[in-house]
């Protein structure tokens, strides 16, 4: 088990390092990242001054080493636009993103788990088909289309909900739904499949045979065993989906979170912010994945007790 944990952590560190390096070299693909930002109206001296100010002087390897050292020391560079440390800018955005993520996750879990269980139990009846059709819609419709139609109906036609910002609880409704769509679809499908796998097991028949009420059989014996799979999916798949959805949904609703920051800095070409933002989000996904892996291994006695 220790070995497994160590290996997972090693893999996580390696992935992080590769991503940090790739992001660095990617931003240098088009020559100096400042070029597009500074424009033409500067004298050579001013230009050199700016290049030094943002630490972009020297060969690419010197820059790379400086960049890596900066990361170790917690110094991630300055924003081209705001001239403030990017860590500060990104840090301000974490809480709003986290709030939105939490509300989307809450909605996803409260809807997807019961729906998935129902879809497994009533697999052959119209209930199951209807739920799976709903999950299908969530998969096939991009979240920006859901968001656009919601804005059209609830904001512009009916005038019920606000569109921009995160001021009140009403501001949460549309972004949460737009972000949850694909998550609910994914989790419902996984819950259903995990439940179906469990429902056919021998211990379920035993539980019924010893006279337990059906709800206990389903919830205690069924859901508990399916739960491990569902949780691992939640960690592995949902983290990536949520990160991607977050970018789009925040940009649409001008939600002051990391996703909106990423899109804006991509459009204004503020590379230091974009660079650090990408590393932060990717890092969060990777850490969640690694933790899920370890938790899954811990829940599985074959790995926990074995020497794998």
């Amino acid at each position: 088990m220790t070995l497994y944990v160590l290996r997972t952590l090693m893999k996580m560190a390696l992935t992080m390092f590769v991503i940090i390096s790739l992001v660095f070299f990617a931003t240098r693909l088009s020559g100096s990242p400042l070029d597009t930002f500074l424009g033409d109206g500067l004298t050579q001296e001013d230009r050199d001054l700016m290049i030094e100010y943002f630490g972009l002087n020297g060969s690419i390897w010197e820059q790379y080493l400086r960049y890596l050292r900066g990361i170790v020391e917690g110094n991630f560079g300055l924003s081209f636009l705001e001239r403030r440390p990017v860590a500060e800018i990104v840090a301000e955005r974490i809480w709003p993103s986290f709030q939105l993520l939490l509300s989307a996750l809450a909605l996803t879990i409260t809807l997807a788990l019961p729906l998935g269980i129902l879809a497994a139990l009533y697999r052959t009846s119209w209930v199951g088909s209807a739920i799976m059709a709903l999950a299908f819609v969530g998969y096939a419709v991009p979240n920006f289309v859901i968001a656009t139609f919601m804005v059209l109906i609830f904001a512009f036609s009916l005038n019920w909900l606000p569109v921009v910002g995160n001021g009140t609880w009403a501001h949460f409704i549309m972004p949460t739904i737009a972000m949850s769509g694909v998550l609910i679809a994914a989790l419902t499908r996984f819950t259903r499949n995990a439940m179906l796998d469990v429902l056919g097991q021998d211990f379920m028949r035993t539980a019924r045979a010893k006279g337990l009420p059906e709800t206990v059989v389903i919830l205690k014996h069924g859901l508990r065993n399916a739960g491990v799979t569902v949780l691992s999916v939640l960690g592995l798949q949902i983290a990536g989906l949520a990160a991607a959805g977050n970018v789009v949904v925040e940009a649409i609703f001008s939600w002051p979170g990391i996703g909106e920051l990423l899109v804006n800095s991509a459009i204004t070409r503020d590379y230091p912010v974009l660079q650090f933002g990408v590393i932060t989000v990717a890092g969060a996904v990777i850490v969640i994945n690694a933790l899920t892996d370890i938790a899954y291994a811990y829940a599985d006695p074959r790995i926990r007790l074995g020497n794998a």
Partner: protein, 293 residues
Amino acid sequence: MAALSDTAPRRAVATLWIEANWIQRTATLLAIFLILAAVLAPLIAPFDPLKQSLISRLRPPIGFDRFKDGFLLGTDELGRDVLSRTLYGLRLTLGLALVGACIGLFIGGTLGLLAGLRRGWAEDVIMGAVDMQIAVPFTLVALLVLSILGSSLPVMICLLGVAYWEQYARIVRGEVRKVTEMPFIEAARASGGGPRYIALRHVLPNIVSPLVVQFTLSLSNIVILESTLSFLGLGVQPPTATLGSMVGYGRDYMPTAPWMVIAPAVAIILLTFSVQILGDWLRDRADVRLQGR
């Protein structure tokens, strides 16, 4: 494997049609309709999608007040015909998605085949890259690349091409491992077949059906990715229309001219729906277990 033993493709298609339920049949017809609309866009579009006409700006679709003859779905803020733009947008979106899916199939298929047949360090490197790709949400990669290289059709195509290669690689590797353990491969090897001959002649034909399924499913994912990037203003640049960018730019006019976003948004939904239904159907038929999406 069952689908592969069918020697008469035409009869196989006929059986497929008979066994299909009404949803699958509708999806098939819808897909054919959309593909035809995309291919024939230059012929059937009533106007030039880029032609502006300031007199007929923001006209509503047929059946509303101020409707202007000929502009069936209305016009946008520059007086361009929404129907024509939607048709051309569909054409570009579908074309980009097809090319992207083919590139992904090629890259992922080749690497997966290599990983499955070669084993050793080649497999470690390839599967390491697969893990990496899974770990990082691709939207982030796309944001970074588009912001650095700027948005152009070649960049877009490359991005869409590498977006889902890892799914092909995983499937191909898994299938190759399964197939290579079968006796007929051993027989081919015993009768002196070289590795390339075995890979192309014996292994590849046996993993076609999961690849077809994956191709269809990733097609709709690529459509979604492309529309999303264009919607955010990072994809295909104006004045060229793709469905996503039409929704994105139309958003500013939503209160007064909702038809500008409704037409392309509905086209996106129809496209992803029909393709996904087809993909799911093929998956059920081929009974391949695909992981994840």
